[in-house]
Amino acid sequence: MVGLEEIGCFSLFPASGLGSYFCHLMIPWWGCPVTSSWSILQMSKQLDMFKTNLEEFASKHKQEIRKNPEFRVQFQDMCATIGVDPLASGKGFWSEMLGVGDFYYELGVQIIEVCLALKHRNGGLITLEELHQQVLKGRGKFAQDVSQDDLIRAIKKLKALGTGFGIIPVGGTYLIQSVPAELNMDHTVVLQLAEKNGYVTVSDIKASLKWETERARQVLEHLLKEGLAWLDLQAPGEAHYWLPALFTDLYSQEITAEEAREALP
């Protein structure tokens, strides 16, 4: 559709004052290009066309997006490249026609619930792996499988709710933070160091990061205060600071309260 600006419609009416007022009123007859109003009309038409294209795409490939997590990743990446957020609103075309919205927003709810349930144990810090396992358990047999990439995208959206959801890279994976604890670069680096063994000591920090004792101690104290680390004074050598978020099934076992009572001397 050729923009009527090119036809020189402006020469008939001046672009400001009374002229543009008339132009604005007379759009249906004259097609006069009062700039932003005309563009909005154009956008409305293009939007309708786009909606049709998207519907066609959805009818052919909606299942593919639902079933194929790699395709989901490609889809998300392409949207990001052109400056579109398909998950911004449940009312968006992408969400309505491709069904991606409900998938991620529901996942968000499940992530929040898992983090809340485990917070008393790990202080609000959990590995992406454990979160993934727990979410799958909660979703049940008949729900659709989700990948770790799906979880990360859902969590990124949850940040908008303002309650301290964070994603911290450690080792080859991520720690997910679900409480508004202040974690700066120093804390993050120590968490990364602890990832190997599930715990860290002041000596470990001094050897690997070349910090002074005081700096190491401050970071560890902060993690203790926030409930993210547990202090083990009975460990051989010096005190061990354990990160319950990093415990895996290999190190720990779920035991009941009675079993715990019996185990104590």
Partner: protein, 386 residues
């Protein structure tokens, strides 16, 4: 199934755990066998399966014994599976659950999901073949597959051919989908460019634009998922949709808020509202944008952001500052309280309990004792007993 060997399940030195998944059942070829519920572990060297009910029952297969793997999608009443095609067992194989089997493949059924990630990681390990570079003990001598000159089992060749065809078919489908996606994105990009030029015109105030047109423009942006470049409004990206949503929320949340003492965190609201809806869920941004309009629309709720960044919804009638007075009473009665203790006493979430105590501290009513044992609040005697 005769390729498995019994194992303790402990990893060797140089052997690292890659991923594990509960709820996995093993099939010998197409047949169900008694190993129906176990934890499957993938290491750099092996695939290990441990029975969930009897941890002593633990067996493994070397990754080097795997010819290739394929995915089998879930169906109605059927879990997703990974099919693992195997080389014939070596003559010096250690004892395992089955002495012989007519099948050269097994299936792993993921009854509690996790198949996507597991398949991805297993494929990676099969490509990287890290076991070749990280030697482990004698008992895990890697089997480098059929020796040169040995005849390959006929069955495998046929399967490989079928797999190749299936791969080509899948690739074709995927590339068609990808092509269609690329074309769609080109059109979407045009929409983005158009909206940018409109936003610029609005900013430069070229020509008249009515209130109505601004509203329409914003709803177009919402439909496309394009961020609103025009920041004239002081309240969110307020479209008609968000205004309606705000009114709906006021209706839905009145009851729950009253039950919870007049205040709820935004995460609680997000879960509550979406669980109730079931479908056509709200995005986190939808919720925030709607809540930003509550006050302007004179609805009986409002959005409040604490210093910590925590966002809550309060009833208009709720005065957090007044709640602080009763919080002070509670703390005084007990001498001192942590957020957890206070939360339990009053019946609030720990998150909101902490905010209330912090507010009380800000107003000068409470003092903090910050130690490794936690954050504890005391009545501020400096104020009251000077």
């Amino acid at each position: 199934m005769d390729r498995f060997v019994w194992t303790s399940g402990l990893l060797e030195i140089n052997e690292t755990l890659v991923i594990q998944q509960r709820g996995v059942r093993i099939y010998d070829g197409e047949e169900k066998i008694k190993f129906d519920a176990g934890t499957l572990l993938l290491s750099t060297h092996r695939l290990i399966w441990r029975d969930q009910k009897n941890h002593e029952c633990c067996m493994a297969i070397l990754l080097s014994q795997i010819v290739f793997i394929e995915e089998q999608a879930a169906g109605i009443g059927k879990s997703a599976k990974i099919v693992v095609h195997l080389h014939p067992p070596p003559s010096n194989k250690e004892p395992g659950p089955f002495q012989s089997s007519k099948n050269s493949y097994i299936k792993l059924s993921f009854k509690e999901h996790g198949q996507i990630e597991f398949y991805r990681r297993l494929s990676e390990e099969m490509t990287q073949r890290r076991w070749e570079n990280m030697p482990v003990s004698q008992s895990m001598q890697t089997n480098r597959g059929p020796q040169p000159g040995r005849i390959r089992a006929v069955g495998i060749v046929g399967i490989e051919r079928k797999l190749e065809e299936k791969r080509k078919e899948t690739d074709k489908n995927i590339s068609e989908a990808f092509e269609d996606l690329s074309k769609l994105m080109v059109k979407a990009k045009e929409m983005v460019e158009l909206s940018k030029s409109i936003a610029n015109k609005i900013k430069d105030k070229q020509g008249d634009i009515t209130e109505d047109e601004t509203i329409r423009f914003k709803s177009y942006l919402l439909s496309m998922g394009i961020a609103n470049p025009v920041t004239r409004e002081t309240y969110g990206s307020g479209t008609q949709y968000h205004m309606q949503l705000a009114k709906q929320l006021a209706g839905i949340l009145q009851g729950p808020l009253e039950e919870r003492g007049g205040i709820m965190s935004l995460t609680e609201v997000y879960c509550l509202v979406n669980r109730a809806r079931g479908m056509e869920l709200l995005s986190p941004e939808d919720l925030v944008n709607a809540c930003k309009m509550l006050e302007a629309l004179k609805l009986p709720l409002r959005l409040r952001v604490f210093d910590s960044g925590v966002m809550v919804i309060e009833l208009q009638s709720h005065k957090e500052e007044e709640m602080v007075a009763s919080a002070l009473e509670t703390v005084s009665e007990k001498g001192s309280l942590t957020s957890e203790e206070f939360a339990k006493l009053v019946g609030m979430s720990v998150l909101l309990a902490k905010e209330r105590l912090l507010l009380a501290e800000k107003m000068g009513h409470l003092c903090r004792d910050d130690s490794v044992e936690g954050l504890r609040f005391y009545p501020n005697l400096f104020m009251t007993q000077s």
